[in-house]
Symmetry: C2
Subunit: 476 residues, 2 copies
């Protein structure tokens, strides 16, 4: 189902994706255990732990268990120690995600012309992208761009930047094969956040949401493709829209600190993000070279890859755009099974959306749509939106087995066994269900047979609690 | 003296530049005073202080004097405090530099399409570029890219990234007016570095070199220029070359720390950077759409805008490329008068190179050349090189008076009076001379009449001391 030529004007295609979660999954109860072990009981702590039970997140993916020495010292680890773990435990995840994306794209490391990376949980020179490039065996002259300061919107900001670079190479008649990588290791900040909750008695909910992940994709400008036997497009990139909401710098942020970074998140965020969605969507339509086909009249006619920053972001999108959880099925699924992995999440969502299980959960059983809107929010507050055209005629089944694969734990908190499955096809839904996904009061245990639809519905209900809790929090 | 059409193939021009140094200048003696005040005497401290007297740097530009409260606490400031000063005292410098560049370019803030920024001395979300964009009144939908992890090579990495984005817009037939900004506040790290020298007895020379600066430029892809009365090119950008030297990740870096960032600099750096210059230069020539005119046969036929990372970088370039200090006159001048301001330095050098005083200091009096090679090194170790074509038919005299201007102190360590002069024309050489530039043993005092040539010669001699000192330092 190739797009009409006019719509392919930019010639930009995502031809491979990869997601690599770390081997551990942290149930909400883990936060209770750490809190009890190191901090006295207090009203703020109780409030955060209550919210933590009702985020709608079943498990947060992490590079370690709650018994990891890094988070069991007498004090919180420093940014120096956090940097070391990012490099030792994080970089291999990004390498693995990139290898998956390269394998699916049928692109050799030396064919990569640029690398656009992002992270908000590391500040090293050389940047982590240098080590990923080295381990992958990219060319010494690959043009690297490491985005900073963009938090959760980093994944789509990197895709947008890569798109511009692709077009720059097209202008010179040169092929571009750009590796986009996002890596976030957030769970190492748990002690620092608990410190702040205890000391300041602030309702800081970041630790209840954030998790670890690496995502990667390969973007091609199509030039020279005939000679290289590139993979067919997974998604074509048709256009993007990006802007900042005025006077919101203090509402969403990630401030550097001796103990890492401290989450800034005010109760205004859900309202602000909800309010900007429709104008951004309209601006996105205006930015496309060609209007979408006539069957796309309202936001509900698309599928949506929304960054699941929190449950209120997703339900806000439902209200603002007249869409349902089923439109954002991959966003909910990723959120429930893995949590919010900041910039890496949106790549995971886009990867997840094309899995067979997801296609069986469409709104009203209408089936998947080829036009998909990607959306993420970041500090600024900035909104990143893009229009993708999913290639429904291909499935990820053509993948070679990647060198390392995304893994799913069979038991919460336990290391996962390596699976040789295709990462996009493996059953996160099934894993989530087996772990009692979205039954907030019961964090562990297998054999739950909740239907997918119920699971999404429960997530919707869970968020109202968070919304109420947030509304009662004072602005910073 | 327009370039032949064929050479303008990329259509990329720098049409405005701005440099904003902070109001204070720190003589080498300031480091002795801080050391004596807070740290015991020790062999490593003595060695660093000796090297500090012979760096060839007359004064390092700084946002404060050695009496600033931030560096006079009982302990070194934390990365949180360093972040606050970066935002309060650094961001206005970047705004000022950007206003100068916009004024010269005759570009209104709302005409800016993208902003490519860099820093290695901040890690905030939203990034500092957000605040610069806000204060300048750029569009809410300006596409921002903040580079991280690239240290001193950030200025040219940002120019290269901006060039690619410019071409991406050209591919779509859209005008691009890209604001490139570099901001580094390094002098706030002095106590942290002194801590490490004292505790580890390492010969850490970063504090003897680093300074504070903001640089900005406007890059245009030329589209729509006829309608906008843009300024003529200051430099055309003809091509670039970028690569990483294998197995050198541990030789040059800037590691995040609770007290900011710690400089990594091994004695291998001068040898490594010297060795890569000629291959990079050859690769650059190969990357150009058109070869340079026949009169450009050897590196000595060009002018050079070399990042003055330290005196050994400059003297290494002389040996490797067969060039003289006069080829790199703006590099030496910037280094002597202001120190190494990391990523912002190269923009300052490019701005300085076009000043009338600089044109009178060419090799053998041959006059300035229109082809200029820009070069900087960063962590990785990465080398960034670009070919520029200077527009010798224009001078910066057409500048409107910018809202704020680069300032030069009349006395070391004292706040400078605001000057209304054109920043590119004001006499850094004269200021340097007045301050006894490059007479290491006598850091302050005015009225020195050392000739410019002598000044460069002395700088060359000073570096040999550093080179010897570095050679005796053990690898980390």
């Amino acid at each position: 189902m190739a797009a009409p030529a006019a719509q392919r004007e930019l010639g930009l295609s995502i031809i491979g994706l990869g997601t690599q979660y770390p081997p551990f999954s942290i149930p909400p109860s883990a936060l209770d255990a750490l809190s009890k072990k190191f901090y006295p009981d207090s009203p703020a702590m109780q409030k955060v732990l209550s919210i933590n039970r009702f985020t709608g997140i079943d498990q947060r993916s992490s590079i370690g268990t709650p018994d990891h020495p890094l988070v069991n010292g007498p004090t919180a680890p420093t940014i120096t120690e956090i940097n070391k773990i990012f490099m030792s435990d994080g970089v291999p995840l990004a390498v693995s995600a990139a290898r998956q994306a390269l394998a699916e794209a049928r692109v050799e490391p030396l064919q990569i012309t640029h690398m656009v990376s992002t992270t908000c949980t590391n500040s090293a020179n050389p940047g982590y992208d240098h080590f990923v490039a080295r381990d992958l065996g990219l060319s010494q002259s690959v043009e690297k761009v490491l985005l900073h300061g963009v938090g959760c919107s980093g994944g789509l900001a990197a895709l947008r930047t890569a798109a511009n670079l692709c077009l720059g190479h097209a202008m010179r008649g040169l092929p571009a094969r750009i590796l986009v990588a996002a890596l976030e290791i957030s769970t190492t900040l748990v002690r620092s956040e608990l410190d702040s909750i205890n000391a300041d008695q602030d309702t800081r909910i970041g630790i209840a949401l954030f998790s670890d992940c690496a995502g990667a994709l390969v973007l091609s400008n199509g030039l020279g493709a005939a000679d290289e036997a590139l993979a067919p497009p997974v998604y074509e990139l048709l256009g993007w829209e990006h802007h900042t909401i005025p006077d919101t710098e203090s509402d969403l942020g990630f401030d550097v600190d001796p103990l890492g970074w401290k989450v800034v998140l005010t109760p205004r965020v859900p309202t602000l993000t909800q309010g900007v969605l429709e104008p951004a969507y309209k601006a996105l339509l205006g930015a496309l070279a060609q209007p979408p086909p006539e069957s796309y009249r309202t936001p509900a006619d698309y599928d949506w890859a929304m960054h699941p920053g929190g449950a209120t972001i997703l339900t806000g999108a439902e209200k603002a755009l007249g869409i349902t959880p089923e439109h954002m099925r991959a966003s909910y699924d990723t959120y429930i099974s893995h949590g919010n992995s900041s910039s890496a999440t949106i790549i995971s969502v886009l990867n997840r959306l094309r899995a067979k299980e997801m296609d069986s959960m469409t709104p009203g059983g209408r089936g998947p749509r080829d036009h998909v809107v990607g959306c993420a929010f970041g500090p600024g507050i900035s909104v990143e939106m893009c229009m993708l055209r999913r290639n429904l005629s291909t499935t990820p089944s053509g993948l070679q087995t990647p060198p390392e694969t995304e893994s799913e734990p069979s038991e919460a908190g336990a290391p996962a066994s390596e699976s040789g499955d295709d990462p996009a096809n493996e059953s996160e839904v099934a894993a989530g269900l087996a772990n009692g996904a979205n039954k907030p009061v019961k964090e562990t245990g297998g054999g739950n047979t909740t239907a997918d639809g119920e699971r999404l519905e429960t997530a919707k209900k869970a968020e109202s609690f968070i919304s109420e809790a947030l509304e009662s929090v004072e602005l910073d």
